[in-house]
Amino acid sequence: MKTNDSTRSGGSKAGKAGGAARGRRGAARELNFGGVWSYAPAPEATEVAPIPARQELFVGGAWTKPMSGRYFATTNPATEAVLGEVAHADARDVAAAVKAATKASPAWRKLPGDERARYLYRVARILQERAREFAVLETLDNGKPIKETRDVDVPLAAQHFFHHAGWADKLDLLFPGQSPEPLGVVGQVIPWNFPLLMAAWKLAPALAAGNTVVLKPAESSPLTALRLCEVFQQAGLPPGVVNVVTGDGATGAALVRHPGLAKVAFTGSTEVGKEIQRTLAGSGRELTLELGGKAAHIVCEDAALDQAVEGVVRGIFFNQGHVCCAGSRLLVQEGVHDAFVQKLARRMARIRVGNPLDKNTDMGAIHSQAQLARIRELVADGVAAGCELHQPACALPKKGFWFPPTMFTGVSLGHRIAREEIFGPVLSVMTWRTPDEAIEKANNSSYGLSAGVWTDKGARILWFAERLRAGVVWNNTFNRFDAASPFGGYKESGFGREGGKQGMRAYVRLQGALASG
């Protein structure tokens, strides 16, 4: 999509001077974009990822028809075209999946760690070999740009299998003297914003520790999790070690309620997370929750501003803002507010929104009609509250679900757009005067998943990081992920960590003291 740099709200119009015109004092001091050299379409080919018209459940290593005989369609958010049908699992299918996982559990947990590792390494390598197929499939089903699935989602998913394969035979080193044991059968429910990556985050540590799994992908983005089952088959993973049941919220509810589970791991909304926690209370089943967020960027006046702008763009417009740790609140030191907002507005106009399969697209489609409605509602609330709206004028496709990169200035802590998770490409800008005030504002949220600090001063980074009530604090970067780095939240952003040593802890039972006593 071609964009230009005029903004809807009070932004100065682009100058009309020609490209080769000599600059003069007094000439229109705005930059022109897009007229001289426009990029030709560069779409990624989709032949590499054919989608079956109908896909079954993956239970006990085999493709199984749903007992209800019901199927539902999954669509491409960028075109609203139906991609294919997947099976709708009900409580009976979930029970069958848990049964298969239970049956597979004794052999899998007894397998020496290095042999479990071999399967996981194989999965990681096959994922790399089929990277393009997974990237295309994810882009079709989710709406996110191919640039991201190609460079972030798929490589990181493979990295998680590689990383956790390495822990499989080193559990004793991770938890010395504590006889780490797998928990048993784990139920995992994952969201639609990173369908493959979340599956990898959840499956890799669970399998490395010796658990077997029933995984429930999101209703609106089930395709890559199902394709991952092909990879498991290709890798020769024993039947029943991983089972995938597709369906809606009722399917997920049936899974988390199942008494055969030793643990539930959930990533998704805070609302559903609370419901799961109520369901599991007193059941003795373990639980980890990775929920919503309303992360703050703290930009200090001594920060490298151009690079901070890039980081803020990555923080909120990466994956259309459908990121639980998205940096959706921007807290700028008042002295650089105007300069920073101007730079940011200009940079936002350079974001290429459009066909997610085009290799030059920076921002793809909003994932669903429902999510688009939620974004529109909160943006309307921001406008009604008197905040100043900044949106680059960009031509959005007619079909599909789209929303332009959006920034609000003049936001107060009390506004809904500063408190509620929008889960879309909407940034709320506020100012601060002193570091104490910055911390107070950053922590003034019911969430505590992530935060970002932008300053050139090392001591100040540590000062802020110590005081931010957030599970992840990025310094002079944002939305960077690594399998070795624990990820998880404070407060209503959930509990438990994924990734690294801390992530492995969530999938083992430690009993060293009793065993040696």
Partner: protein, 302 residues
């Protein structure tokens, strides 16, 4: 002179190296196809300062290069001429004669290129002579020794003096970023050159490795962009040395297009300084036209 001589130990806003390089790498992933690629490659030719700067340069060599610059691919009239030919000062008269009537500019390095370790009077004499002989563009080197010693006012004064000596000729200020080493230094050097009146910021002499890199040029483009937005004065950028393939040239053009926009997508405001880049660009252009790669020997080795 007195006012700016107090410029020492100057500080400028910091540059985050990791994030700058990440942004440059991201711009480098743009995929350019078909018409966009052809247009970009032709633009790269039109922005090229075809360069020979060697001890073994002769009038014959310079004349050959001028012929190539005026008509890079004689069989294809749609392929534009290069922007300029860049030579040592003593060969300026040869280039001027060879390029008469072609519209191709004559650029001359001066000020004790490449090290710049001669006295200022000699530098200014060299500049004046090159301009008198018909050079329309002067590529000066800054005094890196003075810069690294913290004598920023001295560096700025010298740029100003050279600018005065240039008269009507355009001044390109070579920062030699490969010797400045840090992005913070590059930014500071950019600001000195911008405020001292340079018409172009140029990365390198081509005699020091690394020469031009994408992150450095991104930083320089951000500086000229911000200078324009603050003062209304446009300054050009020249990426010189180390750019050998059409693919690389396109990455630079993407960086120009997405940082400074349309105004800078012109030979008046962006240049490539290169000797071996042209033939690869020609080969890529012919590949786009015919669907297959030609032999390297199909392109003149001038």
């Amino acid at each position: 002179m007195a006012a700016s001589s107090s410029l020492s130990g100057l500080r400028v806003p910091p540059v985050d190296a990791v994030a700058l390089e990440t942004r440059a790498a991201d711009l480098g992933t743009r995929s350019l196809k078909k018409a966009a690629k052809v247009q970009g490659l032709k633009l790269a030719i039109a922005m090229m300062d075809l360069t020979t700067l060697e001890g073994m340069d002769t009038p014959g060599k310079v004349r050959q290069l001028c012929g190539k610059a005026a008509r890079p691919l004689p069989t294809r009239p749609d392929v534009p001429a290069c922007a300029a030919v860049c030579v040592y000062p003593d060969l300026v008269p040869v280039a001027v004669a060879a390029l008469a009537g072609t519209g191709v500019q004559v650029a001359s390095v001066a000020t004790g290129f490449p090290a710049g370790r001669i006295d200022r009077a000699s530098k200014l004499r060299e500049v004046a002579r090159a301009v008198r002989d018909g050079a329309t563009e002067i590529d000066m080197v800054i005094d890196r020794g003075a810069f690294l010693a913290g004598r920023h006012g001295f560096v700025a004064d010298e740029i100003r003096a050279v600018k005065d000596a240039c008269g009507p000729a355009h001044l390109k200020v070579i920062l030699e970023t490969g010797e400045l080493k840090t992005y913070d230094n590059v930014r500071l050097a950019c600001r000195l050159a911008l405020h001292a009146g340079g018409d172009f910021l140029k990365t390198s002499t081509g005699k020091v490795a690394p020469a031009s890199t994408l992150p450095v040029v991104l930083l320089m483009l951000e500086e000229v962009r911000d200078h324009f937005l603050a003062t209304g004065r446009m300054v050009g950028v020249k990426a010189a040395g180390g750019i050998r393939t059409g693919k690389d040239a396109l990455k630079y053009l993407v960086t120009v297009a997405e940082t400074c926009g349309d105004r800078w997508l012109s030979p008046a405001w962006f240049r490539f300084g290169a000797s071996s880049l042209l033939n690869d660009v020609l080969m890529q252009l012919e590949k786009e036209r015919t669907g297959r790669y030609q032999r390297p020997t199909d392109f003149s080795a001038d």
